[in-house]
Amino acid sequence: MRQILEGSQAIAQTIKNINPAVISAYPITPQTHIVEDLAKFKADDKAKYTYVRAESEFAAASIVAGSSATGVRVYTATSSQGILLMTEVLYNIAGMRLPVVLTCANRGVSAPITIWNDHQDAMSIRDAGWIILFAENHQEAVEQHLLAYKVSEQVGLPVMVNVDGFVLTHTYEGVSVPSTNQVKNYLPDYKPAKGAFLDTDNPASFGAFAAPAYYMEIREELHDALVDSQKVLKREYENLKQAIPEVIKQSEKKAQVNNALIEYYGPKNPTTVLVAMGSLVGTVKDAVDEIENNAGLKAKLNINSVGVLKIKTFRPFPEKEVLKIIQKAKFVAVLEKAVSLGATDGPLALDMKATAKNETLAKVQSFIVGLGGKDITKKMIDKILVEIKKPGDKMKFINK
């Protein structure tokens, strides 16, 4: 049934219906209504999971890591400073191949202190070995949590679902949350394989010591598993469409391409491609449509054809899918809410440039927007469409 909910509520209801065995979280700022609602479901006897209120995010991550190692489904959520405190454990979770699912309600990091939205927190986990998904809206967040568990438990990799803090977590909009029975149709009870969990009948050790003779091979295996998970992500997204059509049918109807990894919205063979992740994509689509429907503005900005490429799966990076979209473009503007301080480009733009290199003639440029909750307006997007055509490809901060 379609209802109007806050993003946090939609995610909490989805997790409740997925029914993990253990949920652990640290309840203080930076936290969201997600874990508050999940605690309330438990207190009201509407949920069966064990809810462990941890003494810090480090503890919360450790509790879900330990629980997952016993072979049960787990969940946690955090953001900004919270995810930074979890970091050491998050690397371990990936290294131990535990199917943990975490929601990151994206926020900026200190200093200066901020409570507002950007993607800097998620970028701190970029190299940890997690599958990293970004949701544009509530419905996509619901989809991605279902997909996260389904894929995670198959490939033995943790998944982080990113939802923009405040912009999605605190916003009301229409969304369909699948019922417990619908969820079961898609996501059966978790039954870990023999040897994939701590079991006295089948002893195994997790995260054991690896000398130089083995460490590198094990890390290479982890990388390969992450890259290979693209196939499973795509397949399971199609399966989700079949199993619970309600949750997918509201996704962008005019999209030319829509799978678990990317969505492309716009004309075939666009001259310019705007690339973004998360809730920003909605504003970008509206800005592009506005230009398309306004001949005066289109002429003023000297726009030929513009398409919008949404990166839904940031890790593993879907380079083949991305290349298909940008192959014939002349300009690729990458809009992102994070900086790799001191680098030549933003983290997403670095991947985009690497993907484009030697494969297309497109100019790829990095535009940093919306740090620490700065509102991203359609005017800024119009400005970027002008900037991208100017000579040079140096990273630019777009403040207004």
């Binding site: 109007i4 409570i115 507002w116 939205n117 809206n137 923009d164 405040f166 912009v167 605190h170 916003t171 009301y172 909009e173 229409g174 509201q250 809730s279 920003l280 994509v281 909605g282 504003t283 689509k285 509206d286 909750g373 509102d375 991203i376 307006t377 359609k378």
Partner: protein, 180 residues
């Protein structure tokens, strides 16, 4: 797309008002969106919240810069914050005040100004000066954007789990504003 901006002060239920508009519109069969101008919400500080209503899914996340309706919950904000920002000639302004229109001190040009003494209704029915729901009765009355039925249902949904008499009183207050 119809865009609404609400101005008020921390503690006056500005965010709840935006959410109620979105829920009411959703109940009426529209697409809708509501979100606050996220800030550190101290009691008494000027704050804003936004709502959008459309018949197709709403994608944009930018703040409301060109409101079609502007709601001012607290008349002391007139002249202190830039209420006029982005207003056009058809923007509807609803102000909570006991003063007549021409004494409000509004110095920007709007054709459609509605004044409701929401404080009076709130004190009378709710027993305290919380006007956020009351003004929505006026919004429902002015145009067909949200219906009184949709709004009543929204109050029941939003305040589910709270004291039953609170729900009833809010519905009574909204209805009074709608009929006045």
């Amino acid at each position: 797309m119809y865009q609404i901006r609400i101005h008020g002060r921390g503690g006056q239920g500005v965010v709840t008002a935006a959410e109620l508009i979105a829920i009411a519109a959703f109940n009426d069969g529209h697409e809708s969106q509501a979100f606050p101008h996220f800030g550190v919400e101290r009691t008494g500080a000027p704050i804003q919240a936004y709502a959008r209503i459309d018949d197709k899914p709403i994608r944009t996340r930018e703040h409301v810069y060109k409101p079609d309706a502007l709601i001012v919950q607290d008349p002391t904000l007139i002249g202190t914050v830039d209420l006029a920002q982005g207003c056009h000639k058809d923007t509807i302004l609803i102000v909570n005040s006991s003063l007549p229109k021409d004494q409000l001190g509004i110095n920007f040009d709007l054709e459609n100004i509605y004044v409701i003494d929401a404080t009076n209704i709130a004190l009378d029915i709710l027993g305290k000066n919380i006007v956020n729901t009351v003004i929505l009765g006026t919004l429902a009355k002015i145009n067909n954007l949200i219906s009184l039925e949709g709004l009543t249902k929204a109050i029941k949904q939003k305040f589910a789990g709270k004291d039953k008499s609170l729900v009833e009183k809010n519905i009574k207050a909204v209805t009074k504003a709608f009929n006045s």
